[in-house]
């Protein structure tokens, strides 16, 4: 029970200005929306946010961008957010764009205690500038480093009081590799149950990676692109 906190405000109480934070999710799918709302309310500034995307205007990290709380974004794709593009082109916001697989692996490496690895992604492009290049079995690879942070904030479907997590459908995305990648990992879940109620065979993220867990007050789970088929 020592991992369980009351709510998002308590979970993020020691996040201060200029913190570096991993934020799980892909687009708006599986984002820790309660903690993002709490960060917006707290008003911490100068944040470096590591997240595959930058939310949309008015939701997700878009809220933090709108309030000028973000100093730097480390992402792979930010095309959905016009406010982001405006801040970037005007020089208000720093951005590091990283190939998506490299971003995921750099988070995983940080959680796994692997300081660097070689990947072919970005070889021969501007992503490779200044990086060590090595040939393995006739193919060229570039060295990438682990990507640590002060905090990792992730979202899961179900969690227990020991921090064990189960994700639903495609929400596993960056939430799983970011678990344990930051100094302190915070998990918000849709349903928090007592330890022992989740089947150990079905756990996606073992509790050891999680320092704080709470049941989110509200999940809006906004859909970014609502696409449907017609019934025949």
């Amino acid at each position: 029970m020592y991992k369980v906190v009351k709510n998002a405000e308590e979970a993020i109480h020691d996040i201060t200005d200029n913190s570096t934070i991993h934020l799980g999710g892909f687009g708006l799918c599986g984002i820790p929306e309660n903690c993002i709302a709490a960060l917006a309310k707290k008003g911490v500034k100068g944040l470096t946010c590591i997240s595959n995307n930058a939310g949309v205007e008015g939701f997700g990290i878009g809220i933090l961008l709108h309030q000028r709380q973000v100093k730097k974004m480390i992402s792979s794709y930010v095309g959905e957010n016009a406010e982001f593009e405006r801040q970037l082109l005007s020089g208000e916001l720093e951005v590091d764009l990283i190939p998506q697989g490299t971003l995921a692996e750099r988070c995983r490496a940080a959680a796994a205690g692997i300081p660097a690895f070689f990947t072919p992604a970005g070889y021969g492009t501007e992503v490779a500038e200044g990086k060590e290049v090595r040939e393995f079995d006739g193919k060229m690879y570039i060295m990438e480093h682990w990507l640590k942070a002060d905090f990792s904030i992730i979202k899961a479907w179900k969690g227990d009081t020991d921090g064990n997590l189960i994700y639903r459908k495609t929400t596993r995305n960056f939430n799983l590799p970011m678990a344990g990648a930051g100094r302190i990992t915070i998990a918000e879940v849709e349903e928090l149950v007592p330890a022992g109620q989740l089947d150990p065979d079905q756990i996606h993220t073992p509790g050891i990676f999680i320092k704080r867990i709470f049941e989110g007050e509200k999940f809006e789970k906004r859909i970014e692109q609502r696409t449907v088929s017609k019934k025949a």
Binding site: C29, Y77, G101, T125, N173, S229
Partner: protein, 219 residues
Amino acid sequence: MLDKDGIAKRIAQELKNGYYVNLGIGIPTLVANHIPEGISVTFQSENGMLGMGPFPFEGEEDADLINAGKQTVTVMPGGSYFDSATSFAMIRGEHVDLTILGAMEVSETGDIANWKIPGKMVKGMGGAMDLVASAKHIIVAMQHVNKAGESKLLPKCTLPLTGLHCVKRIVTELAVIDITPNGFKLIERAPGVSVDDIKKATEGKLIVEGEIPEMHLYL
């Protein structure tokens, strides 16, 4: 000349039974609508799903189930979900048989540029750099010329690169073209398009050997 669906239809003929296929955003997404009869393939969506199915019926959308384009989708029987690091292990580990993606420019040596226009567009590369660096087979689906009427098949790319020497085949509204050690090689013409039309729209070196057949689109 082909429309976007025609390009997708032609590419769909490259699918083989049992293939694992990653589709990029745009024309590549349409390929899923034209899988030939009797062919069974599995679509990988790099945000964390194998066995991506069609869009859900209205009212059955699930915010927790999207594709890499952030669109609501469904999952096919036999599908699976996984995290982003595992997803790119499939891609980097060359377990995906075919990658189909769009491009702004392709060079005659198979270089591709599709993620950035300096000073104008900063959206990011997403998974494209990982995909092109590791795919066993890459087909580019794109228009032959850009909106300004300039060829997108060039001796050298002018935009920042996504990957080097990786594209194997290009399908446009005009033609099917392979990348060979000697440059672009014309394989097929689109219905009603002449070799001259294709030559005019191709700025890079285009190899034309013998009669160039018109493509057959099984409708």
